[in-house]
Amino acid sequence: MKKILAILLVGIFVVSIPAAASINLPSIYRRQIIDKPIIKTTDVPDWADGNITGIYALKNETGEYEILGNIFAYYHLFWGNSSGYYVGLWESLDGNQTGQFSGWFFYHITLGYYNSTGSNDTGGFIGLMNVNESDMTIKSVAMVSGADDYFIRYASCTYTKFE
């Protein structure tokens, strides 16, 4: 029942927006990302239940994976750990590009928003994620909207629960 409710909420949420690029996160989180970059890996927000570290990647034109950079985020859980939100940083492998992202997750669906430091590049993403509690990993495939196109990104992360 909880699952159906969550899916329903996500459905309503997605249907209510015209495109992934304009996903409306709760204003507090959107403001946090855009207006005041609160995230530093050393500053642990008081709402954080744990953190996430990993990499993100794309598939190139021949279907090969290429790792693009690293991601780090703090997450908060609710609804019996089946849902929550996260706020984090991304950084390209060479360190030349950075930005922030935040999003929600509802069971296996995640959707969120990202920006790029020093530019107006922003967009949304929606995808599937899988949490493996036995080895504390998170895998996600998401469709990400860019300026005038969309693309698929892959994320492979581990997570740490705070005591």
């Binding site: 899916i7 598939k59 021949t62 279907g63 090969e64 994976y65 069971y107 296996h108 669906i109 599937l128 994620m129 899988n130 990993t137 895998k139 996600s140 495939v141 892959y154 492979s156």
Partner: protein, 536 residues
């Protein structure tokens, strides 16, 4: 005159250049394709070497990639499991069969870096491996005719990744616990995915811009999404699959695909289908709506999971080999056969002489993969045989009709003759020599040929009955040692080894006679010599 000379020089240069040009092009082509030319006909010799990796054989490779590098198109690289895991990232750019000894134990481990196997050639076969911990377990790029079957592909980022792959088969693989997609075809068409267990991945099968593929008899369980079509993936036919407990959706389709195989064959089994089957035909009364914007429906959803029925594989590896000649009439026929489901097999044996379509059922429902005709085969006869394999579920597969020819009946030669007769004699006297061991093993009549050692021969004499004593006589006119030779042959021409006997002719009969004449004419001398001889 000078003009003529120049003309011939010029012509010679042109001809030489042409020959050189042709030879430099043709020789490498011939070599690379393993061609030989015999009797003005070109024979393509398909090499099919087997290169072994692991195991204890002399010359076996320790690295799979080294064997692949040394293999030629058409070769098989067989990998023993004893050296597993093979921590390698294989690149296959030639048409080979890569066969593992045991799919559970023959492990290729990508160490969480790179792809375990990358294929860029056509018609590559991968069979019998566990492939794990790669970014992509098996990546196939711009290839066709690939066969990936009977593998365990797990714990990779992606199980099987395809980019511009066509006309390939993915059969009976276990593709589980991969981080992202179990199978991810991109711009890939007319491939067949069947009999696979695609479980516990983020996506089971994620089609991207891939059309006209056949997806049937797979199990998709525990994925976040069983099948998703993206990026204009159309005209795929998806039926007889079992969808269980995929977390978000069993399937998601924004495009135009076929999700059933019409009535009464039916569609797929969906564990979240809520319709009823009022007529009990095993097919739901109402369609199953596929989530997504494609408005696709499985019009004939199955009420129970589909249970694939795979017939046995065709029997193979016959003995005597197909087309064999000179086969022993006491040969036992044998063959090999497998069943994809691992069912027990029984065989019907059709075996007949001189009939290219054998209809004589000589054995049925036998469990052994051999058949002994028990003395029924005749010499120099064409035999045709066919095996029909049956699995325990009643499915059968007929093998090809095989053919062989028995050998000619073997004709044993007579024994080497033992010559019996005097070994000393005097010239001019006729002596008799006999051969007693003339018994032919086959009982054939025999002939004899004498060579008396003094240039005289008998020619072939006979026939004599097998075992009959054969005698002949000869007189030598000179002194010396003579070697008598004798040879037997049977009525079919089988020759024995030569038998020999040495004969010494120490005294001349003429000299003896002359002395006797002298003595007989002179009686005093005769008595004197006799007296002297008595004194000695």
């Amino acid at each position: 005159m000078i003009k003529m000379k120049k003309y011939y020089i010029k012509k010679g240069i042109i001809i030489f250049t042409l020959i050189f040009f042709i030879s430099t092009i043709a020789i490498p082509i011939i070599n690379s394709n393993q061609v030989s030319i015999k009797n003005n006909s070109v024979i393509w010799e398909e090499r099919a070497d087997i290169l072994y990796v692991g195991g204890s054989g002399p010359g076996n490779y320790s690295k799979i990639q080294n064997a692949i590098n040394d293999a030629s198109n058409g070769d098989t690289v067989f990998v023993f499991h004893d050296s597993s895991p093979y921590l390698e990232h294989l690149i296959i750019s030639k048409t080979i069969n890569l066969i593992g000894e045991d799919k559970s134990l023959t492990i290729i481990d990508g160490s969480n870096t790179g792809n375990c196997i990358k294929i860029t050639a056509d018609s590559v076969v991968i069979n019998g491996f566990t492939i794990k911990k790669g970014l992509i377990g098996i990546s196939v790029v711009q290839s066709s005719g690939i066969e990936i079957k009977n593998n365990i592909i797990k714990n990779n980022w992606e199980g099987i990744g395809l980019y511009q792959v066509t006309n390939s088969t993915f059969f009976k693989n276990s593709i589980t616990d991969n981080d992202f997609e179990g199978i991810s075809p991109i711009q890939s068409t007319v491939n067949t995915f069947s009999g696979n267990k695609i479980n516990w991945n983020l996506y089971g099968l994620f089609l991207s811009n891939s059309d006209n593929n056949f997806i049937y008899e797979n199990e998709m369980k525990g994925n976040s999404r069983g099948i998703e079509t993206t990026d204009n993936s159309d005209n795929n036919k998806i039926y007889h699959n079992n969808f269980f407990a995929n977390d978000e959706d069993n399937a998601f389709d924004d495009f135009s695909n076929t999700w059933d195989d019409d009535y009464p064959s039916g569609g797929n089994y969906w564990d979240d289908y809520t319709g009823e089957d009022s007529n009990g035909d095993g097919i739901g009364d109402t369609p199953y709506n596929i989530p997504g914007d494609g408005n696709n429906k499985d019009n004939y959803p199955l009420m129970e999971p589909y249970i694939p029925q795979y017939p046995p594989d065709p029997p193979y590896n016959p003995f005597p080999p197909n087309g064999a000649t000179g086969v022993d009439v006491n040969a036992t026929l044998s063959w090999l056969c497998n069943d994809p489901d691992g069912d027990d097999l029984t065989y019907d044996v059709y075996f007949e002489s001189n009939n290219p379509v054998p209809t004589e059922l000589v054995s049925n429902n036998q469990t052994e993969n051999s058949y002994d005709p028990i003395g029924s085969m005749e010499f120099n006869t064409d035999y045709y045989w066919q095996i029909v394999a049956w699995d325990s579920k009643g499915a059968s597969t007929s093998g090809p009709i095989w053919h062989f020819v028995t050998g000619l009946e073997y004709n044993y030669p007579p024994p080497s003759p033992m010559i019996d007769g005097p070994t000393k004699g005097v010239p001019g006297v006729e002596y008799i020599y006999c051969i007693q061991n003339t018994v032919d093993p086959d009982g054939d009549d025999v002939y004899v040929y004498w060579d008396w050692g003094d240039g005289a021969t008998s020619g072939w004499l006979g026939p004599y009955s097998s075992g009959e004593e054969i005698c002949s006589s000869h007189a030598w006119n000179d002194t010396g040692i003579f070697t008598i030779g004798a040879q037997l042959k049977d009525e079919f021409g089988a020759l024995s080894a030569w038998g020999e006997l040495s004969v010494k002719m120490p005294r001349s009969l003429d000299l003896h006679n002359r002395i006797f004449d002298i003595l007989s004419k002179n009686t005093q001398l005769y008595f004197l010599i006799t007296y002297l001889l008595k004194l000695i």
